[in-house]
Symmetry: C2
Subunit: 353 residues, 2 copies
Amino acid sequence: MSKLKPNANHKAKDLNLEDIAREAGVSRATVSRVINNEAYVSEETRQRVQEVIEKLGYTPNIRGRILATGRTNIIGVVIPQSLATVFDDQFYFPTLLNGVAQAANQRNYAMLLWIQESSTDEERFYERILKNHLMDGVLLASTQQDNPFIPRLLDMGIPLAMVEHPHQWADRVNFVTVDNQAAACVATKHLYQQGRRKIGHITGALNNIDGIKRLEGYKQALAELGIPYRDEFVFEGNFESRSGYKGMRALLEAHVDAVFCANDQMAVGALKALDELGVRVPGDIAIVGFDDLPTSERNKLTTIHQPIHTKGAQVTHLLLDQIEGVSDGARHALLETHLVIRETCGASITRRA
Amino acid sequence: MSKLKPNANHKAKDLNLEDIAREAGVSRATVSRVINNEAYVSEETRQRVQEVIEKLGYTPNIRGRILATGRTNIIGVVIPQSLATVFDDQFYFPTLLNGVAQAANQRNYAMLLWIQESSTDEERFYERILKNHLMDGVLLASTQQDNPFIPRLLDMGIPLAMVEHPHQWADRVNFVTVDNQAAACVATKHLYQQGRRKIGHITGALNNIDGIKRLEGYKQALAELGIPYRDEFVFEGNFESRSGYKGMRALLEAHVDAVFCANDQMAVGALKALDELGVRVPGDIAIVGFDDLPTSERNKLTTIHQPIHTKGAQVTHLLLDQIEGVSDGARHALLETHLVIRETCGASITRRA
DNA sequence: TTTCAAAATGGTAACGTTTTCATCATAATC
DNA sequence: GATTATGATGAAAACGTTACCATTTTGAAA
């Protein structure tokens, strides 16, 4: 492209190591040692250098350090989901980012957020950022089945962590996730405990690991309860509210008396359908969701709560551990969920499961 | 190259300018010129160098470049709001960030997201990131009245842009905002046009410029319509749903027949209160909100739509223009809003204002 | 031919750290 | 007193670019 005009801002030249060294009567190396708290500096010298640093208000230039050390103290957070997805669940990402931010701040890292808005962004990301080692590691927030980044990142030896189960790469990347299957099983069994026997399920997108696992949890529960699985009791949704609405209308035809929805958004859609048709909840139909969105409390929705903020913080710690050489990059954690009982399932007390 | 052990983090030393120069039989300087598309390179040489670059798969090391140029192509996005706020409005920030990302990607910048989770983060941000010139500019997403960052950033000569009106600094920083007052005025007048004469207002937080401006717009409308301002028709809220709920109950005592809520979240709270008390909407009370959240369509809420995504993109362009020396850093834009008419205000058609 | 500006290129100095290596003191051990 | 460790320090070499300046080549005008 064209070359840029130099920035007109006249910046007072910053202090550098040399200045401090001169003022304190030592060498650059010694000042560097003081700053990085290394050994082999006499207490006396350390003190003197420290004083000069404070007197002159010096802070090390991060750019020089980056070049010398090869580390930036920046982690990349990649959100490859389509715009629509980011829009759709307005709770998940901000919360996750807050968790990541907390852990990153705490350990003195900054986060480079990479929201992929167009398909060209993807290649650009790879070329521009990764190959140049601008980030010490990458946090991948993707639930796509086959994310092309994973093998590329692994090949390049860049530390990687995910907030979902990484499919076939599970033994090579860090990840934190919740036990979707177990949680779905709990949710389904809870409906059974409330006396329901015709329990339907509106699934999430089934190219998504969460969607798949929740469906499996539903099936597992049925199996363990000795209830035969019936195809007409399962509607394939896609996590969006609208599909919950459609799914509910379909399942009503099949005469279910309870529905486990793979997320709260679809549960809201389902509730809307029931409301329109004058079906009583939980009188005629009991509903359980998944996620525990903030709005779910208002909607009195029984649902599975998952600790998203914690998830963000924890996955960040895993990543940083690998970056800092504490771990070798294949650790993972399974976070606990719990059932939050509200009015839509017909139970009357709140307890944890 | 050969990477037999997956976890042996042995990175094959990257190529550098020197390698390319040697292979192409030219100097480092020439290769640099080719890469940066500068003049004074013969077509023949350019070609040859280009070929070598492609053959060897070289990409310039961004860290060396950063040190040499003093520019990182990173902008900082600072969100100083408390955690609660980020949580509360789950639409605004993600949408804004998407807009920022779009513009930044387009112009080859990356965004460093800085969510301030604790008060110590603030000072750390200043010390660690700014003083070291890790970011070429800063996008401040704050509506706080007195953000202590602004003068500091200005002092340091760091390009700055805001998504709200920057109060007393308006003539020194870039900003993009919507005309809150005009929009609030339109909203209020619309209620009047629907035949309402006892129009109340639930304000936003009044330490917030948006809250203030929207209240002013409400007052302006009354003045222009010749309706006396009545204190008991105004309830001071704080943008949260709960305060809308409380506000509505309070305004009912004052016998209003319409309420302009300073945001949609409070409007939802107000609707909930009305629903509980069996007050008909819009029969007895008409409601207008502000923001046009995605949920507002479902709630059939008449509201002011503001182009948040565009706002994010535009403010980013302003910032980058200053960074690249195209502007001097005191530009601003006022984005247009429009009234979206749905069922809660008693009008029957949708039009734009 | 001479002259001269512009184009093309190379050499090398920044940029500001961290790291490595060598050199001294100094204290501990024999 | 000789010999080691070891603690403290500095000089200089990376790190990989870009920016500046000097030099050579080229092509056209005088």
